[in-house]
Amino acid sequence: MNMKTFKLGGVHPAANKLSDKAPIVVAAIPAEVAIPMAQNLGAPSKAVVQKGDKVKVGTVIGEPGGFLSSYVHSSVSGTVTKVDVVPDATGKKVPAVFIKVEGDEWEESIDRTPELKKYITLDKQQIIDKVKEMGIVGMGGATFPTQVKLTPPPAFKPEVVIINAVECEPYLTSDHSLMLAHAEEILVGVEILKKAMGVQKAIIGIEANKPDAIALMEEKAKAYPGTTVQPLKLKYPQGGEKQLINACIGKEVPSGGLPIATGALVQNVGTAFAVYEAVQKNKPLFERIVTVTGKSLAKPSNFLARVGTPLADLIEAAGGLPKDTGKVISGGPMMGKAMPAVESYMVKGCSGILIMPNEEARRKEASPCIRCAKCVNACPMGLSPYILAKYSQKNILDKAEEERVYDCIECGSCSFSCPANRPLLDWIRQGKGKVMGILRARAAEAKAKADAAKAAAEAKQEPAKA
């Protein structure tokens, strides 16, 4: 198939896929886990266990805390020691369930047989219910509750499932190693997603720096009519949902609109695999592949790690924290979060831990803008980062809104490409947050007015009826 890519902008950071030949290593189960209750976008889950409760692998320990929320399952068997706070990747304290590990006993309902189960017995609604029950969230990092994504507003007609196997972030290889190890399971997962959305077509987008994965998936996909593999030219941020849709089917998600408006339902390849395990093997989401990597690290690796595992354990298993470490990043180098300390725990959305040496960790000093427009040419959303940064800095929010700061996907291409080392995204993020707050307030006010007008109109009719 011809190689495609998205139209506007994009940059080319050094790929540094140090761990792309590393086979998946099953990480050792720690002596104690701390499973955070906030592992999804939206409302945190509510813990439903307390000190002293005995749990097995797969036992529900957290229930959804709202519409946009998920179940959390235990990743180990043992006794709950406490429900306390732990720092997440950004250092913020979040509630977590601490479990002292005893053995590795799984819930009987989980099918642990390794054979591929191809035939899908559940119907569309059953699939969506099972996905919710098994705690599936978007594994690309955004952790959007999958059952909500699979039920778009009725106004939208899904036409194609797009699988995001791009992994455009430098260093990360978890999706790559997943495809090499579980190609068939992923393809069955894609079939399940197609059935859930009622579509016949699926496109798996893979970047050209993974030729072995492209070849393998193309070979296996022959047995699944309607599913094709789309090789993509190397360019960041190809894995961004809007850019991927543009690359694969040529359409643009309307500004302010949902991606499903283009007819495409995008899911990360790890999510597709998790959906297979959930629907075909009744296995909840409690473990995932995470890349632990870095130039000074002894053994860049891809681990299959259980949620709640201390990140320090994984770093130790990859050779230990190097002496020249200057930064530890949860995620990739373009959009990941720099951690204030290594004391944090594995979560569903953590696809990589990047250890950066001192020389690369410090930012260079910013100098005046030379108006080279490299940021404008780099922006995949067609924005002008130099203007957005200036308006955000000076708090000129109405102009920032006019310049569409809310369309920014925070990919970092602008800051990456600025020759003067200006921290454009820092300012734009601030401005975007403030403008989105204004937009939300405006929408709430408009809704309140509409509700009040409706109530007033109904009140007028009431006396007439009586």
Partner: protein
């Protein structure tokens, strides 16, 4: 163990810096520099060295002692201004005039506006135009290629001056006599004509253009728009197909289109804007050459359009992602 840095994403950066961009421009100018030394000898060397040294020294002095900020001469932008200013001058120009030109270019054209990134007009062109108006005789006496000395050089009318005479010729015989002196397009390409030091060899400048494109220092939009608009305008103004080609190859067209109009600070910030900007520069250059008092129009055209850059930036926006044009009802 070291303390961990917790800056916000992105955590990696391109290797491109302001200094590397300026270095690439200097490398692109190298062929033209070598040609200027080969064709104009000692004069070219003296004028170039004086211009570069003056620009750097003036920027350093102004930043350190007048503005009291950390001097930024290491970003090489003053050196680029120095080379570009030298390229606009005749190789036999008195050095004290070069120094004044550098002072105007850096002091007024760049520093007075706030330094790098803040100036509205191209500093090298501000210097050149100032010198043209202040010292018209020295600035319009052009050595021919091959004049290797500094003081005792052979000068002649440049192709642009010849064109102006040709349009103003009283009789067809006089016009033909003038055209007989005109160098061919090949001469203009290679640089075996008279003119400003850096402007004579279109080929050397075009080589630099290719380098700048490959290194992604500039995009093609402004130069190509200038060439296309200038060619069409020249046809309209009656230069003929061959004459219009010569219009592109002579005078400040190549140097201006490739190195001056594409100056980061003074040109529009998106590709659509650059096309519009380039179009008008091409049109204005030909109009000034054809109908204006001066034979050369490129410098003025670029400076005029530099003034329009802010308004182009305000009204011409890049193509947005996901913005559907409202359907006409």
């Amino acid at each position: 163990m070291n303390k961990l840095s917790v800056s916000l994403s992105p955590h990696v950066h391109t290797a491109t810096t302001v200094q590397s961009c300026m270095r690439d421009v200097l490398i692109a100018l190298a062929p033209a520099l070598i040609v200027s030394f080969c064709f104009f000898g000692l004069g070219a060397v003296l004028v170039t060295l004086t211009s570069v040294a003056s620009c750097v020294i003036f920027e350093f002095i102004i930043q350190k002692y007048i503005l009291k900020v950390t001097p930024s001469v290491s970003d090489l932008s003053a050196i680029v201004t120095g080379v570009l200013l030298a390229f606009n001058l005749p190789s036999n120009i008195p050095l004290w005039i070069v120094i004044i030109g550098a002072l105007v270019a850096i002091g007024i054209g760049k520093m007075a506006f706030g330094g790098i990134g803040c100036n509205i007009f191209n500093p090298a062109l501000v210097g050149r135009v100032f010198l043209l108006i202040a010292y018209p005789v020295q600035m319009t006496t052009w050595p021919v290629s091959g004049s290797m000395g500094y003081t005792d050089v052979e000068t002649a009318a440049t192709p642009l001056a010849l064109f102006t005479q040709w349009f103003g010729a009283e009789t067809p015989e006089a016009a033909d006599a003038i055209m007989a002196q005109m160098p061919s397009a090949l001469d203009m390409l290679l640089g075996t004509t008279g003119g400003a030091m850096g402007e004579v060899s279109a080929l050397a400048l075009l080589l630099g253009f290719c380098y700048l494109l490959v290194r992604k220092v500039i995009t093609w939009h402004a130069p190509v728009a200038i060439f296309a608009a200038a060619y069409i305008m020249a046809l309209i103004c009656g230069y003929g197909a061959y004459g219009s080609l010569q219009m592109l190859l002579t005078g400040g067209m190549m140097l201006g289109a490739i190195y001056m109009a594409t100056d980061y600070t003074t040109s529009p910030m998106n590709n659509k804007g650059l096309l519009i900007y380039g179009c008008f520069i091409g049109i204005l250059t030909i109009l000034i050459r054809r109908f204006g008092a001066y034979p050369e129009g490129m410098s003025f055209a670029i400076l005029i359009m530099n003034g329009f850059t802010p308004i182009i930036n305000t009204y011409v926006k890049p193509t947005r992602f996901g913005v559907v044009k409202a359907a006409k009802k």
